[in-house]
Each structure stands twice: as structure tokens, then as C-alpha cells.
């Protein structure tokens, strides 16, 4: 009986890892968009690098949410009602961002384009930051009572630790996006610009990451889990190596290492949580775990069969998309606005 709960915990980790890894770079590209170039045509090329894939990447988040609802409904209920206003902010950001991708290119006026580019930047920055705040809140613990109900308010979610957590996610994703851009653009000028921005974002990310690690050590019990602690330290190391490699011209390696760092961070935080999914700061017995928050054995079995059949298929066709659009984006690609 416990195996299925464990499988679903792992699957949730896989979904969040996929989400942060993939959506991480398109949040990063969105954040960097206004800073990449003063020329409209060049910013169009930047956007074009993620245009065919961002929506598919976002589905990883939707699926993670749906999987939480199906496998651990109490976590879904408690988490989403706890983060009520934070999620509202995130939804506003995601709504603006999604529509902006569609509408920006459909009018030539510079004013129109600037507005929607601003929306893409805002719509990428806010969720990047908020996911960091959310993850650190989960591990730090929240005032959750014996009925799994959150007793605090919106501003209780913002502590120095969680703000550092938010900044860490924000800068890591920004660096991740910049490293992605160095891989995906044909223009030498733009590639250089992406590398310059990566230098700045990466430096800030390293500082934030170090603080985040330190505060995680002080504020949470994450390091009591050997796997959790190791993963986070490995993530930090991978990120720093990737950062240094970028300037020796190994931009692909840098992107691979920042991907690894993001994956290891995600796994690390979840390993630290295990077997809990939300920690109660009031009483350890009131934490939501993979046992007391889970669906029944029957539902988990049905969902396990479905996931085993469907996830590989999704991975294959999403991989195919990246294969189709593997060529670097050149100025010619943006002549026709579909």
C-alpha cells in the first residue's frame, strides 16, 4: 500500500523538476527580454527561441497541480488555500504572460509591443520569485492546525528566508534563460549580450544561493536528510562550475550544468521534506505527509497505470518538438508573424 504513495511522491518530484527545468529557462528568457536589445527585430528573435515551446512547458505546472489534486488532495487543498493571494498574483502574471506571447507580434506599434514585452517580463519574474517563496515556505513550515488548515495570512509567507528563497529561484532561472539563449540564437551580437547578462544574473544567483543554503541549514531540518543536503550542495557546486564554464566558451555545458543544478535543487528540497509534503510549524504530528494526505489505494492504482502509459508518450513528443526547432534562431525566422 505504501509503495503507491511513494511512487506518487516521486512522480510529483519528477513533475516539479520537469516544470522548473523547462519553464525555468522560458521564465529566464522572459525576464531578460527587455534587456536583450533596444531593437524590436532582435527582441523578436529572442522571443522566437521559446515561442513554440513555452506553452508545452507550462503544462508541466498544470500537470503537477493536477497530480497533487489526484494523489494528495489534502496537500492540494491546504497548499492552494494557504497561498491564496500569492497564487492570485501568480495567476495574474501567468495570464498576462500567456496572452502577451500571442498578442505582441500582431501589431507594429512600438507602444503596443513595449506594453506586452513588459507583460512578458512581469509575467515571468513574478512566478519565478513566487515559486522560490513557496518552496522555502514548505520546508520551513507553516502554521497548519490539526484540521490541515493554514492559520496565517499573506504576509506571514514573506520572511527573510523565504524572500532569499524567492530571489534564488529568480536569479537561477534568469541565468538558466541566459545560458539557453546563448545556445539558441544565431546572431553573434545577441549571443554576446546573453552571455553578459548571464554573468550578472549568475553572480547574483550564486550569492543568493549561498545565503539560501545557509538559511536552510539554520531554519529548517532539511540537512537531517542526507540525500537532501547532498543534493543541495551538489546543486550549488554544479551551478558554480557551470557559471565559470560559460566564460571559457562552453555555453552548452553551462546550460547542462544549470539544468542539473535546478533538478538537484528540486530533488533536494523534496528529499528534505520526505515523507512530508507540507510541514506544520505548530506540531510535527499535524504535517501533511504522503500517508495522511493521500488518495485511496484504488485511485492511486488507477492513476499509476495512467501515468505509466502516458508520461513516456508525452516525453517522446515533447522531445520531438525540441528536435524540430533545434536550429538557432536567425533574423530571417522572424519575418513572417505566423
Amino acid at each position: 500500500m505504501m509503495e503507491l504513495n511513494l511512487i506518487w511522491f516521486v512522480l510529483i518530484v519528477v513533475l516539479f523538476t520537469g516544470f522548473f527545468l523547462l519553464e525555468g529557462f522560458d521564465y529566464g528568457v522572459g525576464i531578460l527580454l527587455p534587456f536583450m536589445s533596444p531593437h524590436d527585430s532582435e527582441r523578436s528573435q529572442v522571443l522566437r527561441t521559446i515561442a513554440p515551446v513555452w506553452d508545452g512547458n507550462e503544462v508541466w505546472m498544470i500537470t503537477a497541480g493536477g497530480a497533487l489534486f489526484a494523489a494528495f488532495p489534502h496537500v492540494y487543498a491546504t497548499m492552494f488555500s494557504t497561498f491564496y493571494l500569492a497564487l492570485f498574483l501568480m495567476l495574474v502574471a501567468l495570464i498576462l504572460r500567456g496572452v502577451a506571447f500571442e498578442l505582441r507580434g500582431r501589431h507594429e506599434s512600438p507602444c503596443w509591443r513595449h506594453f506586452w514585452e513588459g507583460a512578458i517580463c512581469f509575467g515571468s519574474a513574478v512566478p519565478a520569485f513566487l515559486w522560490g517563496v513557496a518552496v522555502t515556505n514548505l520546508i520551513q513550515g507553516l502554521p497548519i492546525n490539526e484540521k490541515m488548515i493554514y492559520l496565517g495570512g499573506f504576509f506571514d509567507l514573506l520572511t527573510p528566508y523565504t524572500i532569499i528563497g524567492g530571489l534564488t529561484f529568480f536569479f537561477v532561472f534568469t541565468f538558466h534563460g541566459a545560458a539557453f539563449l546563448t545556445q539558441r540564437l544565431a546572431s553573434h551580437g545577441l549571443t554576446l549580450r546573453a552571455r553578459t547578462l548571464a554573468a550578472k544574473a549568475g553572480a547574483l544567483a550564486i550569492i543568493a544561493f549561498v545565503f539560501c543554503l545557509l538559511l536552510t541549514f539554520l531554519n529548517t531540518d532539511l540537512f537531517q536528510s542526507a540525500l537532501g543536503g547532498l543534493c543541495l550542495l551538489a546543486a550549488g557546486a554544479a551551478f558554480i562550475v557551470g557559471y565559470l564554464r560559460l566564460f571559457q566558451g562552453h555555453s552548452r555545458l553551462a546550460f547542462v550544468l544549470s539544468s542539473l543544478a535546478i533538478a538537484a535543487t528540486t530533488v533536494g528540497f523534496f528529499a528534505g521534506l520526505f515523507p512530508r509534503l507540507m510541514v506544520s510549524s505548530l506540531d510535527p504530528a499535524w504535517s501533511l505527509t504522503i500517508v495522511n494526505a493521500a488518495s485511496t489505494h484504488y485511485t492511486l492504482s488507477i492513476m499509476t497505470i495512467a501515468a505509466a502509459c502516458l508520461v513516456p508518450v508525452v516525453l517522446i513528443y515533447q522531445g520531438w518538438t525540441y528536435w524540430i526547432f533545434r536550429q538557432r534562431i536567425s533574423p530571417n525566422d522572424c519575418n513572417d508573424t505566423h
Binding site: F69, F80, E102, S295, Y298, Y317
Partner: protein, 455 residues
């Protein structure tokens, strides 16, 4: 208490807004896929070129609409946990599965292949490219299926047991084969086809009148749109009729409220108009045709239909004291609005299809002029239909199992719901204006002239 009321309003606003875009996605995705299939299969070079331009033309409308549908859909997924956490706890074992399956089977499919479709025109073969839009259309319709599986459970629970005060799934296949799903899904699918068809019709009519160079191309889509819409409407009526008959068994309170039938009668009359008095549990006056309500349900002018008062007593005996009547006047009139709008649209579709077949469309410019202004009709009918479905199950959120009042998040304050409700509404208004502006601009400025006709 205030947080509950506000949460209901917020859900009503955001879900009604979301469902402005969903039916267009359902119907227009299939229409664009059919158009592209024509493009791939035709051997006539000039028509092929016209087809390609038409695919891109309606494809753009589809994309703008699709992006609105996607972003407003995320709000709905989050809503259950944010505002209705007690519902999510009570129902999570059952309700989460279709939502997760929706993401796995449908959202990945439609978003991935739409990305390929939009940016892959010169990267894929014609056939493969066409297959992509078909996958998008299939994905959208699978998504509708799963969400209606979830909704059908709320209307008519099956395949479950109650354990420790929570509903748990005991038979997944009973959920899928719930007769309610068949009614809701077919009705929604055909409503999508009708709505998509009307969108094509309204745009084509405007182009035929105002863009002479494009007249040939849009006369073709006018004809195609009218036929497509007529098929959709016939399906809507057939599935609606089937579902109404099924309601007599599955959800009699909703059915009798829809018809404002207070007392059990055999044969039951159909009220065309009624002055409904909720306080006295009767209609103060009504204009009714005898036997027709029974005929709707049993295909013969006799047969007993239970009245609201009898059902109210029955439910009180079963579930304890309380008011189990939904808002009867609102249901009654919504049903009439829906049916009237549907009937009128069907006549329109037939008239235009016939005129187009005889090449006589241009002889009735007034009809063409009116079409764009009649475009709100399918949306009115869709919203009225959903209103009947959702308001009709009140006071329950899950019929017979959980009341709406017990479903709201306990830690929700009225202040935060006010904030989010105003925020969503303002944002939605802004986006509606922007999207509509771009869509209208696209329709106005994109011309599809025909260079040389095929012999």
C-alpha cells in the same frame, strides 16, 4: 458567509468568461483542421492557395481565442484549491483524477502540437503539418471530455463510497460511463461546433459584404460555416432532448425547476411563460400547453412528472430539514433563452446554407449585415445552458453528498475574495478589449484575393 457568496460569484464570473472561449476552441479547431485537410487534398492549384490562406486566416482567430482559453483555464484549475478547499478534500479522491488525466492526455497534446503547427509550416510535410492541427482538435475535445466527467459526478455521483466523511472512488469505469457524461459531452461538443460555425459565419458575412477582393474565398466559408453550424445545432437539439429525458431519472429537481412545475402532474403541461412565486411555491399565472412536458420526456402526451413541492418533501425526508429548491425563475427563463436562441440559430443556418447553395446570398445583404450583430446568440445560449446545469444543482455542490456552503475554504476572508474577484474581472475586461481589437483588426486588414480561378 460573505466569503462563500463572493467565492460563488467569483467562480461564476471566471468560469462563464472561460466558457466564452472554450466552445470556439472546440468548434473552430475542427473547422480549421477540416480546412487544412481540403488544402492538403485538393488538386486544383488556385483553390489550394486560397485554402492555405483561409487556414491561416481562421487559424489566427483560433490562436487568439485559444490563448485566452488557456490562461483563463489555469484560473479554474487553481480555484478548487484556493476557494473551495473543503470541496477538494471531500472530493479529491474522485475529482483529482480526471483533472490530472486532462493535463496528461489533453493539455500536453494540444499545447505541444499547436506550437509545432504555428511555427512548423516550412519544417514539416503538408500531411504531417495537417496532422498536427488534428491532434490539437482531438486534444481540445479530450480535455472537454475529462472536465465533463468531473462535472457529471457533481451532478450525478456514481462509482463511489463514503469513507471517514470523504467521497472515495470505487469504480473508475462507472465514472467514465456515467450516463450524465454522454449527455453533457455530446451537448457541449455540438454547442462548440455551433459556436465555431457561427464565428465563421459572422466573419465570412462581414468579409463578403465589405471586402470585394476576398468575396469568392469567403463565400465558400460562408457556405461551409452554415452547414457546419446546422450540423452542430441539430446535434445540440438531439443531445439536449436525450439529456432532458435522462434528467427525469438523474436530477428531477433540476428538471422540474427548469419547467417551473410545482405539483406532480400526469400529463404534465409545458409552460411557455410563467409568473413564478418562490414564496408561495406556485406560479401566480402561466401560459401552458397541456401534455407537452410529458411528451418531451416520454415521447407520448402522458406520463407522470414529479413537481418541485413533492421533491422538496422527498429530499427533506431523505437529507433532513432544509430548502432543496434551486432558483426556479432563473432556471425557468435560462432554459427558454437557451432554447429560443438555439432554434433561431438553426433557422439562420438553414436559410444561409440554402441561399449559398443557390448562389443567392448576395441578394439578401440585410441578412449578411445582421449576422455579425447576432454573434452573441451562441454565447448567450452556452452561458444559459451552463447556468441551468450549475445553478440547477444548488444547494448542493455534489448532489446529495456535499452542500455548496460546506465546500468553501474555511480560512478565506471576504477581503481577499473581494480583491481577487475585482482583480480577475478587471484583468479579464482589459484582455477582452485587447484580444477583440486584434481579432477585428486582423479580420479587417487580411484580404484573400483569388488569382485566377481553376477551370
Amino acid at each position: 458567509m460573505e466569503a462563500l457568496l463572493l467565492s460563488r460569484w467569483q467562480f461564476a464570473i471566471t468560469t462563464t468568461y472561460h466558457f466564452l472561449f472554450v466552445p470556439i476552441t472546440l468548434g473552430l479547431s475542427i473547422f480549421v483542421a477540416l480546412l487544412e485537410t481540403c488544402y492538403v487534398r485538393t488538386k486544383r492549384p488556385a483553390w489550394k492557395e486560397t485554402c492555405r490562406k483561409l487556414v491561416r486566416f481562421f487559424g489566427t482567430i483560433f490562436l487568439i481565442n485559444f490563448s485566452m482559453g488557456v490562461v483563463t483555464g489555469i484560473v479554474q484549475e487553481f480555484h478548487f484549491g484556493m476557494n473551495w478547499s473543503e470541496y477538494s478534500r471531500f472530493m479529491g479522491d474522485i475529482f483529482g483524477a480526471p483533472l490530472a488525466l486532462e493535463a496528461l492526455t489533453a493539455f500536453f497534446l494540444e499545447s505541444t502540437f499547436l506550437g509545432i503547427w504555428v511555427f512548423g509550416w516550412d519544417k514539416l510535410s503538408e500531411k504531417l503539418h495537417c496532422a498536427c492541427i488534428w491532434l490539437v482538435a482531438i486534444g481540445s475535445n479530450i480535455s472537454a471530455f475529462w472536465i465533463l466527467v468531473a462535472n457529471s459526478f457533481m451532478q450525478h455521483p456514481v462509482g463511489y463510497a463514503i469513507e471517514n466523511g470523504r467521497a472515495v472512488m470505487t469504480d473508475f469505469f462507472a465514472l467514465l460511463t456515467n450516463h450524465y457524461v454522454l449527455g453533457e459531452y455530446s451537448h457541449a461538443l455540438f454547442a462548440g461546433i455551433s459556436t465555431g460555425g457561427f464565428v465563421v459565419l459572422a466573419i465570412s458575412a462581414w468579409k463578403v459584404l465589405h471586402d470585394e477582393a476576398s468575396r469568392y474565398a469567403f463565400t465558400q466559408t460562408l457556405k461551409a460555416g452554415a452547414i457546419y453550424m446546422a450540423i452542430g445545432l441539430l446535434g445540440v437539439m438531439g443531445s439536449g432532448h436525450m439529456h432532458t429525458q435522462y434528467l427525469a431519472e438523474a436530477n428531477p429537481m433540476k428538471l422540474s425547476s427548469m419547467e417551473a412545475l410545482w405539483e406532480t402532474e400526469d400529463p404534465a403541461p409545458f409552460a411557455i411563460m410563467a409568473d413564478i412565486n418562490m414564496e408561495k411555491n406556485r406560479n401566480d399565472c402561466e401560459l401552458a400547453v397541456p401534455g407537452v412536458f410529458s411528451f418531451m420526456l416520454y415521447n407520448k402526451p402522458e406520463g407522470e412528472v414529479k413537481g418541485i413541492n413533492a421533491l422538496q418533501k422527498e429530499y427533506q425526508a431523505k437529507y433532513g430539514p432544509g430548502d432543496y429548491r434551486p432558483d426556479v425563475p432563473a432556471l425557468f427563463w435560462s432554459f427558454r433563452i437557451m432554447v429560443a436562441a438555439g432554434g433561431f440559430m438553426l433557422m439562420l443556418a438553414f436559410a444561409i446554407a440554402l441561399l449559398a447553395k443557390m448562389d443567392r446570398v448576395m441578394a439578401f445583404p440585410l441578412l449578411l449585415k445582421a449576422l455579425p450583430f447576432l454573434l452573441p446568440l451562441p454565447f448567450l445560449a452556452n452561458s444559459a445552458g451552463w447556468f441551468i446545469a450549475e445553478a440547477g444543482r444548488q444547494p448542493w455542490i455534489v448532489v446529495g453528498l456535499q452542500k455548496t456552503a460546506d465546500a468553501v475554504s474555511p480560512n478565506l476572508t471576504a477581503g481577499s475574495v473581494w480583491l481577487t474577484m475585482i482583480g480577475f474581472t478587471a484583468l479579464y475586461l482589459l484582455l477582452a478589449i485587447a484580444a477583440l481589437y486584434i481579432a477585428l483588426r486582423h479580420i479587417r486588414t487580411t484580404s484573400i484575393p483569388v488569382e485566377g480561378r481553376d477551370s
